[in-house]
Symmetry: C2
Subunit: 216 residues, 2 copies
């Protein structure tokens, strides 16, 4: 009845790589590493095997907050911290065991599992944040952190602003770009959020240094 596990080359590599690294990689991080040793592996194989191996209890699947699942070489129960900035995951030890659920509050649940998960900034990201504060920048306006791409329309508007030395209103921009007046304000808003445009006077807009950089 039981399915037997066959120890194929790729399965062995996956298990090996996971155990050797002693980190908590995502499926695709692991895939990148495996590919170096076995270039023809498929990402699907990595996913499939991580699933199979964790069902078999050889490894553990971590469903940490946020995005991708991560995998843990250590199938024994233990808790984790993750960095809300870089998504790194580490093990953590609590000062005392986690308390039980009050039986009066179980509400009829048959409880079988428990997960404790701390979050915060990892040492590297703490240092990075301190570096930003030292430079007097808010964490949002650091171009290397929040740089996002421009849409074609945004680029058009930004270009028009770059061409005028004076701050100008949305009507002038509409004329300059050939776009309808209505869409200008939408684009301006987006550009302001990105820090590429500011408004020195109400209803007048100008390109920022950051905005000029973004155009190149």
């Amino acid at each position: 009845m039981d399915k037997q596990l066959r120890m194929t080359h790729q399965r062995e590599l996956i298990l090996d790589e996971l155990r050797r690294g002693k980190t908590h990689p995502t499926a695709d991080e692991l895939y990148e590493r495996i590919k170096k040793k076995l270039p023809r592996v498929s990402l699907a194989t990595v996913y499939r095997n991580l699933e199979i191996l964790s069902a078999a209890g050889l490894i553990k699947k971590l469903e940490i907050s946020g995005r991708q699942k991560r995998f843990d070489w250590d199938p024994d129960d233990h808790d984790h911290v993750y960095c809300i900035q870089c998504q790194r995951v580490d093990n953590i030890t609590l000062a005392a065991p986690v308390p039980q659920v009050e039986s009066t509050h179980k509400q009829g649940y048959r409880i079988t599992g428990r997960r404790v998960e701390f979050s915060g900034l990892c040492p590297k990201c703490v240092r990075q944040q301190e570096h930003h504060q030292a430079k007097g920048e808010s964490s949002m306006s650091c171009p290397s952190c929040s740089a996002s791409k421009l849409s074609d329309t945004q680029r058009q508007v930004l270009q028009a602003l770059a061409n005028t030395s004076e701050a100008c209103g949305s009507k002038e921009l509409a004329a300059a770009t050939g776009l309808e007046a209505k869409q200008i304000s939408c684009q301006i808003t987006a550009l302001k959020n990105k820090g590429y445009v500011d408004s020195p006077v109400r209803c007048k807009y100008a390109i920022t240094d950051q905005g000029k950089q973004a155009l190149e």
Copy 2:
């Protein structure tokens, strides 16, 4: 500097519906409910507002194990249980506060958040499981639970089996379906897993009653 929140009709409805229900719905569950009162809302609007409202601290986003995010009308800190079968989420109260992380194990993390999450079977699913056991069925073989769709190729093979009264081997099936002999065994395996085919004698296959039903 702060963006101000505008209280639009849809935003009000979302907040209202969430607070009134006192459950922990997913974005699309909420969307279905909202649609009854405001048929033209967009799913994107629901997602956007749930995100905005939780960023503003009016509600809370729950990133429970597994699949969809769920949303909680109560922004205060509290813990949850979820059902591993039906995904339902409820509040839960611990017998004592969660212990701190041992400072020697913080590994340089600056910890800002904590999440405790129990899992198990909710009362409804506990009852359902008991009902299955009473009928002597393994939870996997209950047709109403594991019914899965047939692919075109599988249907073809199954149809061929239905047309013969005797159990037959893969070569005969290949002839009957016009498929290559090689693919037959793959399909047979899949069909056996679904309980639509069995093998009364080694290397001979027959359709099961379940398989006949599946063809209709």
